[in-house]
Symmetry: C2
Subunit: 418 residues, 2 copies
């Protein structure tokens, strides 16, 4: 039997035990994990130094920065695990209950998904985050980080396993893939008998590979192309503050804005103000032909936008700008070019707002609040394993509840079907 | 552009309109559909007669029976559609709402999934059922029935389109695949940009093909291998009534029992009674070596069971029988051999019952009630599009709510993220 199959079978067996594990035991493992991350910081940093050294000339500076651990990042990892320990346990909650005319009671009860495979790149804190979130939600996890992070992840996986064992939990409840070979990974993606869910976190190419090769259900988002729409009646001050926050507060993340569209009746009034505010903050403006005259008149420099620009995730200080004719056209624009992640209307007209919120087919739609709030912590979930732009299972930020399934428990006293 | 791609694009566009369609309009289309099914019964039967004639020497007698329509089946189709019209509209319900410390209100609102592809075999009533359920839940549907049913399905699809148009709904909201070619079907399974969900209904081979070839998320159950477990303290009369109901009331369906397992301490007491009751109803007993002595002593005839028998869906009057040592072993047996569909413990011991309900990793777990109740109608959903044994999205019977996703609508007054 292959090493990967063996691993998946061990994970499946562990998941059946873990699904019934009391909260206190899971929390004990989490607190132990936080403690070990702190007490073994030097060991973790030493492993990380090997990865950083080997990757130095192979990956970009921002990637190297993401890969590198320091005391502050290690402390944040430990705190993150403690926070997961402090959250409520989602498992076992009765979501709904009904009594049928024949007297049967049907309880819909939250249960873990089972075994979750998580595939990610670079950042080693993801290893610890995902192990902790899966554990708290009663799921066994199989973790597959990037090859450039293998030493660090191995050190962290060892600490996770020790934490589980010390709390009396089967260490196979959280396993790291023994190799970063793509063929081993491809093998994992076919083991739907043992693994119930794959969550890929990373670039579009990685996610596309998973979707095309997995026979296991996948929860994902490809990218974050978020749009800010300033409606006819948008307040200029609020619009400026929201578009600047959505674009500039942290341009590299998936809930940052990539597009700005403005209602034609407000274009003369708003475009110069908004474009100037963005330019002032170093944002490159890429404008459609329709915006050109207004921007030129206002003396704002810009580049022409291609159609492709409107569906591009820049993750940088660049924004594409266009004019639309109506709320419906704004929603159409987003449904065509966006990635169904997070989109915003700025308006003082409640009817326009509701029309936009209804017609825009995105996971999260905002009226007068920044797209940057799409986040499990900001939504009050206490944690986040990722964002889904899928329609099935979970949509938007995914917390502990979204890492769960349910089962029906039916209580009878001999009922048979006629 | 290929015909299939064109169709998927039209479905996607129609789904965006349909998601916002008022309930009354959807109901008007459904009632029109029911009326047309009745008034055009002769036309439907004529199309069906062609299919039946062509299939007569190619498919088995039970398949031919499934394929054949008569007045009674056509009336039942129309009634089914009227029932769907009478159900509540799941779309637009606020599932949860919270106000964040910064004053933002976050509403989690039920919305349709989008475009759902449904793939099925033989029975033409599925065409109408699925079109109706998708319409009521605001989803566009692409239907792909079996080639042996193409004439009948085409006639029904025409009637569906006419009903939609007459209510002012885009007829692209429910489309039938223009061909039953496997290559066209394979093409559909890759159109994840336009189609959000595939529901295959049919044999294990069809479902496996879909899982291995789809880049669109799939909701499914492969088969129904359901087990009845008679515990130590099971009442003999109740056990007899339940196992007979679960096995014999309709042996061809997925929630019928295929396995009977008995606690060792109750084997002498229960096995002869239960096996005799089943034998009397013409059920073939396939027993493990461990049961052989007891059955022989009781003078009950049986065949030896192979290990494979315990994971076989007979869909017939056959049952596999074994003895287990404990409640935990019963759950292990089911987790190993079953299909995570519906499993039952018969016991008068509440602790044993809860242990079984917790440890058995199935969609629906019963205490003292027949597995035959796993059904959207019996669960009070008013309808059913299928059963899921998956862990993601929906598990167990799927009604209108399970045909929906959700979106977050966030209401602010200028909130930005620090």
């Amino acid at each position: 039997m292959s090493e990967i199959l063996e691993m998946a079978k061990r994970a499946r067996a562990a998941s059946l035990e873990l699904a019934l594990c009391p909260t206190a035991k899971k929390n004990a493992a989490l607190l132990k994990l936080a403690g070990l991350i702190r007490s073994r910081a030097e060991e973790i940093k030493a492993a990380n130094a090997k990865d950083v050294e080997a990757a130095r000339n192979l990956i970009s500076a921002p990637m190297l920065e993401r890969l590198s651990l320091n005391d502050k990042k290690i402390a944040a990892m430990a705190e993150g695990v403690e926070q997961v320990a402090s959250l409520g346990d989602p498992v076992g909650e009765i979501i709904e209950s009904s009594v049928r005319p024949n007297g049967m009671r049907i309880d819909k009860v939250r249960v873990p998904i089972g075994v979750i495979g998580i595939v990610y790149e670079s950042r080693p804190n993801v290893t610890v985050d995902c192990a902790a979130l899966c554990l708290k939600s009663g799921n066994a996890s199989i973790l597959r980080g990037g090859s450039e992070c293998f030493q660090t992840n191995s050190a962290l996986a060892e600490i996770v396993a020790e934490s589980l064992s010390s709390a009396g939990i089967n260490p196979a409840s959280s396993q790291m893939m023994p190799t970063t070979d793509r063929s081993a990974f491809g093998e994992l993606l076919k083991l739907d008998e043992y693994v119930q869910c794959i969550i890929p976190r990373g670039g579009e190419k990685l996610i596309r590979f998973v979707v095309e090769n997995s026979s296991i259900p996948v929860i994902k988002h490809y990218k974050g192309v978020c749009t800010v729409y300033a409606d006819k009646s948008a307040d200029a001050g609020m619009a400026e503050s929201l578009v600047v926050n959505a674009k500039c507060q942290r341009p590299s993340v998936c809930n940052a804005a990539e597009n700005l569209i403005v209602h034609r009746d407000a274009a003369e009034r708003l475009l110069p103000v908004l474009a100037a505010a963005l330019s002032k903050r170093g944002v490159e403006i890429r404008a459609s032909a329709r915006c050109a005259g207004i921007l030129k008149n206002a003396g704002i420099s810009f580049l022409p936008a291609s159609e492709e620009d409107f569906s591009t995730e820049y993750s940088d200080l660049i924004i594409s700008v266009d004019i639309v004719d109506s709320v419906a056209d704004a929603a159409d624009f987003i449904n065509r070019y966006g990635s169904a992640h997070s989109d915003l209307i700025i308006t003082s007209d409640p009817n326009a707002a509701e029309e936009f919120l209804d017609k825009t087919d995105s996971s999260t739609v905002y009226w007068n609040a920044s797209t940057r709030f799409t986040d499990g912590f900001e939504f009050g979930f206490g944690a986040e394993i990722g964002i889904s732009t899928d329609k099935l299972h979970a949509r938007g930020p995914m917390g502990l509840k979204e890492l769960c399934s349910y089962k029906y428990k039916v209580y009878g006293n001999g009922q048979t079907r006629e």
